[in-house]
Structures are given as structure tokens and as C-alpha cells.
Symmetry: C2
Subunit: 245 residues, 2 copies
DNA sequence: GAGTGGTCTAGACCACTAC
DNA sequence: TAGTGGTCTAGACCACTCC
């Protein structure tokens, strides 16, 4: 289900290029009414688009004053939303060259924790993805993902997600019409285990952030169970949060 | 600036009690149109309220089907938004008894990192808050916060935030009319340092999550600079993320 | 086809900031 | 007081799910 993209998303795109192209006094954008007129949409739609850009950290809005372009680059958003793309951007914006030195994608019997989360039987075959992300060939994160072979009645093949341009969430949306709406992660600090230490190139026992992550679709079904290992010595884990709406 | 609360927030409250009181077949709420009629507001307002409850993890919405009450308790939200309240809830919902065994709030010369973030001069007096959170008298988190003495032209006194019922963000909103709209955190896994180990009751070197956190107001000024230390052996750090709006 | 949530509009009024 | 963003309305149409 490709699902037509909302007008507000297009408008957000227009605004993005507008921002990149035009110069305004003090980085101040035209008013919402003005933008609505200029872009030929309702003010509501403009507001939705502006909110989108604001939540990306691109804009700064002041009640009764105006909307301003925030000085710095957008930088990454933390957990969630287009996870790998964010990681790639984070790595890039930190001046490193992103890559995936190790990627293993195959079917495997489902381990018990994943089975419990995915509501499957233990030992039943599932997709297993083992991918490592690197900055300048220095490994920084390792992902382990488990997901069912069949989603929404369709067999899925995540082999394509081996490269940097594809992430699991858009893959699920495109190939199985499965939209991830919620994600939940539990973070723990741990000494790195022998198994992971090798791939990540750190001594056993080095502190890392270990995360168990669940992705839910629009029916609240768990679609992906993940275990992630973040080294934070080179790149810290970054979280942004917008309050009030 | 107390600022009148939006109608949608009130409606969200009404819906909350409606949900707690009434019983529906399959936990299914009336349709948006129906709710709008019953509550005497526009459908837009109902939708805003529903979105609020959804983002709290209370509801589950299915396009073309309906809105459902999610089975479990809301559970905590991770970084950000009413941080300490969330921690308290997290601790409570995990079956522990929350407390603040140590709280020190005083004026101190501003250290250099805080000064850079807060745009102040190093050594200039600022408020310093050092608070430890415990679950069943087992310490789990230590917060260090630095903030200016004067915010929005008003002298502030955060001494009240010593107890469990008050958090910094609502304190700033109430006492200085300063609304925190964005927060940013950088997380690192570290071995616990000697200084913090003592208060947290863990051996030096135990892996913990160390966070540097910044709070921004509606003019993008940094208002609070924090350093936080999370032990994750008792309670993991929990992150929820809602995608797509 | 009936009913739901998702999107969009045009217009109104309010709250805030600046002057 | 003028101009901005914040909220709210009533109504319309679309996309989806289920029968």
C-alpha cells in the first residue's frame, strides 16, 4: 500500500527548497497566511508542514513574532523514525564516512525472547538480520533484528536492506504495506560481550549501550524484535525531543 | 504566563475519564463524529485530543476501523516531557517505591561546559541542583542541573523542586513563564566514576548511561544544562517513539 | 455500500509580541 | 495598534476496512 503522500508533506518539501534557495532578513520566514497564499494551500496545511520542519529541528517558531530558520544544520533524531537513515546522517554530519562492513540476512529458528515478542512459536523460522554500521570503517553499532517470514499475508524478503540506502521501516511499508507507528526501546549500559566485542573491535567489557527494541504496526502487533549494541566512544547516541505537541 | 489551556487538552481529560468510566464492546471508542457531537466540540478538536491520548500510548487507532483502548497501562515515556514525573511513574509501575534520598540545591560558580551551553560567563553564579532518585531506597539515577539565576528577567528559586511532586520543567513554566519546547540529550555508556559511584551505591567502573542534556525555550535559548547518570541494572531506560505525526 | 479514520479548506477569533 | 502564531469550527472529500 504505497499510500498517497499527504499534501502537507509535499508542502514541507517545497518549504525546504524555499528555505535553501531564498534569503530572508534575519532568517525570518513569511507569515503563515502569506505562505498559504504563495503555495496555494490552506493555512492549516502550511502549519502542518511547518510543524514537520520544526520537529526536525529546522525551524524556530515564536508566538506573536514569526517563524525563523534555525542556524545550525538539522542534525540527527535519535531513536525511531527512519533509524538507519538517521544513523547515516549522524555519521556523515560528524565528518565520517558511513558503511556496513558486515551484513548477514538469513532465515533462522526463532529464539525464545523474539518468539515471545513476535507472538510466534520458538524455533519457527524467521528472518534474522545481523548488520554492523561503521564510521570510517570503525564499527560503531551492531543490529540484530528478527521478523516474521510473512507479514500482512505476504512473504517478505529483506535481503535488499543490506545496503545503506534501504532501511527496515520503509522496506516493511513498501513490500508488505506494513506501517510502523510506534517503537519502544529499553536501554541498558553493559560491558560488551565477547561475541559482539569482536565485530565492534572493542575490548571485552568496554561499556556500551545495549537496546532491546520493538516495532509495532497500526494494529499494535509487534513486527520487529531487535537487539542493538551501540558503542558511544566515537559517536554518542543522540536524542531529540519536542514537547508541546 | 499561565496561558489558557487549549480546549483539546480539556477534551483529552474528558475522554480520559470517559474511558475509565464507561465500558465499550472490545474496548472500541465511539467514532470521532459521534464523540464530537457528544462532547459539543468540532471533530478537529476531538482528533487533537485523541492524538494526545494516542501519543501517551493509551489508544490504538486503525484507519477505516476505529479507535481502541490499549490494554495495558500507559507506562512511561522516555527522555523529555515531565522527566521526573515519568521517572516516578516508571519506578512506581515497576513495583518500587520512589524517593529522593539526596537533594542539594544551591548557587555555585558556573563550570565551563555549563557556561558555554547557557551562554554565560564561567564562574558566574548559577543554580546547581544535585538530586538522586531511588527505587525502594536503591538509588538509580543522579541528576546534575545548572541553570541561570535570572530567567526571562525574573529571579528564580528552584528550591521547591526538591520533592517528588515538582519537576524542573513545570517549575520553569510556572515561576518564570519559561516554556521548554525542545530537549536534546547525548547518551554515552561509561564506567561509573568514583564521585558518582558512592551516591549510586555501585562499584566504581560499573557500566552506566551518562547523559548530557540541554533544554531549550521558545526562543531557542538554552535554559538548563544537565548531566545525568542512569544505572540500568534495576530499571532500564525506556524510550517510546510515535512515528507519523 | 456503510462506516471509520485521514486530509484539506475557508474563515473566524484569541493570545502574544512588537512598536 | 498591527501583525504574528495558536486555536477552533463546520463542512467537504478521500482512503481504508469490513460485510
Amino acid at each position: 500500500m504505497p499510500r498517497k503522500s499527504p499534501l502537507s508533506a509535499e508542502v514541507a518539501g517545497d518549504l525546504r527548497t524555499l528555505i535553501a534557495t531564498e534569503e530572508w532578513e534575519d532568517g525570518r520566514l513569511p507569515s503563515e497566511t502569506e505562505l498559504a497564499k504563495r503555495l496555494g494551500v490552506s493555512r492549516t496545511t502550511v502549519r502542518e508542514a511547518l510543524w514537520l520542519l520544526w520537529s526536525e529541528g529546522l525551524l524556530n517558531r515564536q508566538w506573536g513574532v514569526g517563524t525563523f530558520v534555525r542556524g545550525q544544520k538539522p542534525e540527527g533524531v535519535g531513536m525511531g523514525q527512519d533509524f538507519r537513515a538517521v544513523l547515516r546522517d549522524l555519521i556523515t554530519s560528524a565528518g565520517y564516512d558511513p558503511s556496513i562492513p558486515n551484513a548477514l540476512i538469513e532465515q533462522r529458528p526463532c529464539p525464545s525472547e523474539a518468539a515471545a515478542a513476535l507472538n510466534l512459536d520458538e524455533g519457527q523460522p524467521v528472518w534474522f538480520l545481523d548488520r554492523t554500521f561503521a564510521a570510517d570503517s570503525n564499527p560503531v553499532v551492531r543490529f540484530w533484528d528478527w521478523m516474521p517470514l510473512v507479514i500482512n499475508g505476504r512473504r517478505v524478503d529483506p535481503t535488499a536492506t543490506k545496503d545503506l540506502e534501504h532501511d527496515l521501516i520503509s522496506f516493511l511499508s513498501e513490500s508488505a504495506g506494513c506501517r510502523i507507528l510506534r517503537m519502544e526501546a529499553h536501554l541498558r549500559a553493559e560491558g560488551i560481550s565477547e561475541e559482539v566485542a569482536e565485530t565492534l573491535g572493542r575490548p571485552v567489557g568496554t561499556p556500551i549501550i545495549s537496546a532491546v527494541q520493538l516495532c509495532y504496526d497500526d494494529r499494535d502487533r509487534t513486527v520487529v524484535y531487535s537487539q542493538n549494541f551501540y558503542t558511544t566512544d566515537v559517536l554518542p547516541m543522540r536524542l531529540l525531543r519536542n514537547l508541546h505537541r
